[in-house]
């Protein structure tokens, strides 16, 4: 079976930019199908980070010397690149954090405790990552907010009727929902969620950790209030993530962590806060990682989301066709609008055993609950194996996966 790729996307040329992909594992060609957990890094990102450390590095923002000024420029250029990536109206709406988890915790602490009132509710969904569950439980327990959970359908799509029913009493202050499930590959209908939530007076946070890798995000077109993602899934480094929020919301929110860089002035009696986004960026940030994130964003933007989305749609279609033909396999989630994250179970083997056998053939998949235990429970499963694709994934790699899965099943006959 051949797949049609978007003209202009030369996967071989893209793969050549990822040094790690030429590795062999135990003598087998590496087939890396775990990009949803963390993506590999192109040469452009590696070089940008090494180059910064070799030629242009000092602490940023307050230095009066050449090195500090140049490093500040490079780091702040990442903010511009991120604002452009998300279609933000204003670069001051980009807050750098460590990862999506920290971004959600920031919102839960600052917006949750500072703006929301006890008795108001937060709505999440059954298909959230733990990162978009636990901070809201902590907010509930500390602040007296209610936590409501929107159901998903058996196909793995958000139950919009149920979501609307949860909004009905007008108590919901925030709807915090994934933009793309890390287990089911489901894209949620963000515009409809936003319209529905806003009609009931609720703000919306979208967890874009997966979605931003695959689709062009335009936060203004989506109408969202908060959008979060992490650098390392977008071919960038670990240790840098992004919170985007509307400027007026950020300005109303109290700071979360205190320290250097986030203040305007400090006396022992009181301190005043820096302007956004610096109000939320206490301490020396991940400077090298910010520079790496900019390189990753530039790299992704140069390829372009239309080509990325077309390639991944073709791969996903190919994978679903190949994998669904494997005897005894169950593909978890059948959403209409889905991307290249495919969870599956084999009738004869536990996900961990499947993953171990695949690993011995050089194939990297993830197995377990994927940090989504409540979703596993909802699906009546303990764990799944998961293959997830990146821009460097090829149809041949999916063929290797499918062929090997058939052999795994025979092994456990």
């Amino acid at each position: 079976m051949s797949i049609t790729l978007e003209p202009g996307l030369d996967v071989a040329a893209i793969r050549a930019q990822f040094p790690i992909l030429s590795q062999t594992i135990r003598g087998k060609k590496l087939v890396f199908l775990d990009s949803a957990a963390s993506a590999q890094k192109p040469r452009a990102v590696i070089d940008a980070m090494v180059g910064a450390m070799e030629t242009q590095y000092a602490n940023i923002h307050r230095g009066l010397h050449w090195m500090s000024e140049r490093t500040t420029e490079a780091y702040e250029a990442a903010r511009d690149a991120t604002a452009d990536l998300l279609g933000a109206a204003d670069r001051h709406e980009i807050v750098f954090v460590r990862n999506s988890t920290e971004a959600i915790n920031l919102v839960a602490h600052s917006y949750g405790r500072g703006i929301m009132k006890a008795g108001q509710a937060v709505v999440i969904s059954e298909m959230e990552h733990h990162a978009n569950i636990v901070p809201w439980q902590m907010l509930r327990d500390a602040h007296g907010t209610e936590l409501r959970v929107a159901r998903i359908t058996d196909a793995g799509e958000l139950d919009m009727a149920h979501l609307e029913s949860l909004l009905g009493d007008g108590k919901v202050g925030l709807v915090a929902i994934t933009h793309m499930s890390n287990v089911l590959g489901t894209y949620t209908p963000a515009e409809r969620i936003v319209a529905m939530a806003h009609a009931h007076g609720a703000k919306v946070l979208l967890d874009g950790s997966q979605a931003v890798v695959h689709r062009k995000i335009d936060v203004q077109a989506l109408g969202a209030d908060f959008y979060v993602f992490t650098g390392h899934k977008l071919y960038g480094p670990t240790g840098i993530g992004v919170l985007w929020a509307r400027r007026e919301i950020l300005e109303a929110m109290p700071p979360w962590m205190g320290g250097g860089d986030m203040i305007s002035s400090v006396t022992f009696e009181r301190s005043t806060w820096a302007e956004v986004p610096h109000k939320f960026e206490a301490g020396t940030p991940a400077i090298i990682e910010g520079i790496g994130l900019k390189a990753a964003i530039d790299w992704v933007q140069a390829i372009g989301y239309p080509a990325i989305a077309a390639h991944e749609a073709a791969l996903t279609e190919h994978a679903l066709a190949r994998m669904s033909a494997i005897p005894g396999i169950t593909l978890i989630g059948q959403a209409q609008d889905r991307g290249g994250v495919i969870s599956f179970a084999l009738d004869r083997a536990h996900a961990h055993d499947v993953a171990t056998l695949l690993d011995r053939q050089g194939i990297a998949v993830r197995a377990g609950h994927h940090c989504a235990e409540p979703l596993m429970r909802r699906l009546g499963l303990d764990s799944t194996a998961r293959a997830s694709f990146g821009i460097y994934t090829t149809a041949e790699e999916i063929d290797v996966l499918a062929d090997t899965l058939e052999r795994v099943r025979e092994f456990f006959a």
Binding site: A351, T356, D382, S383
Partner: protein, 149 residues
Amino acid sequence: MFEDVRDLYSAAIVERGRRPRHMRRLEAFDVTAKGDNPLCGDRVQVWVKLDDGRIAATGFDARGCEISKAAADLMVEAVQGHTPGDTRAMFESFRVMAQTGVCPAHQAELAAMQPLAAVHEYKSRVKCATLPWHALLAALDGKGETSSE
């Protein structure tokens, strides 16, 4: 294709994992505990009947992979008739075996568990093999729950 995994997934281990002999809840038991591996979602519960300070019967229920079930099943036979003190010492030996692949020669009870020594080549799977032991020791210590972390 998978000849290189036969060290761990030997016929004996796969058979134990597929058809464990002792995977049952004991109707009459003195102590029980649950073990949980929060990173992968594996869960096991162990029930123990004691008689005169020795393990008279052990049963388990496991939700997990072949390795964890085979390890639990073999563990039940290894600890039969032993005191909690012996069992703890046995676990220490087993843990070393699972982590290093070196089998202690002096403990005959562990001979049957030797096929699991190969798990040391699979670093991410060592906890699958040790989880049932953590649950067993938690039960003997009077703790209701434990974690492999």
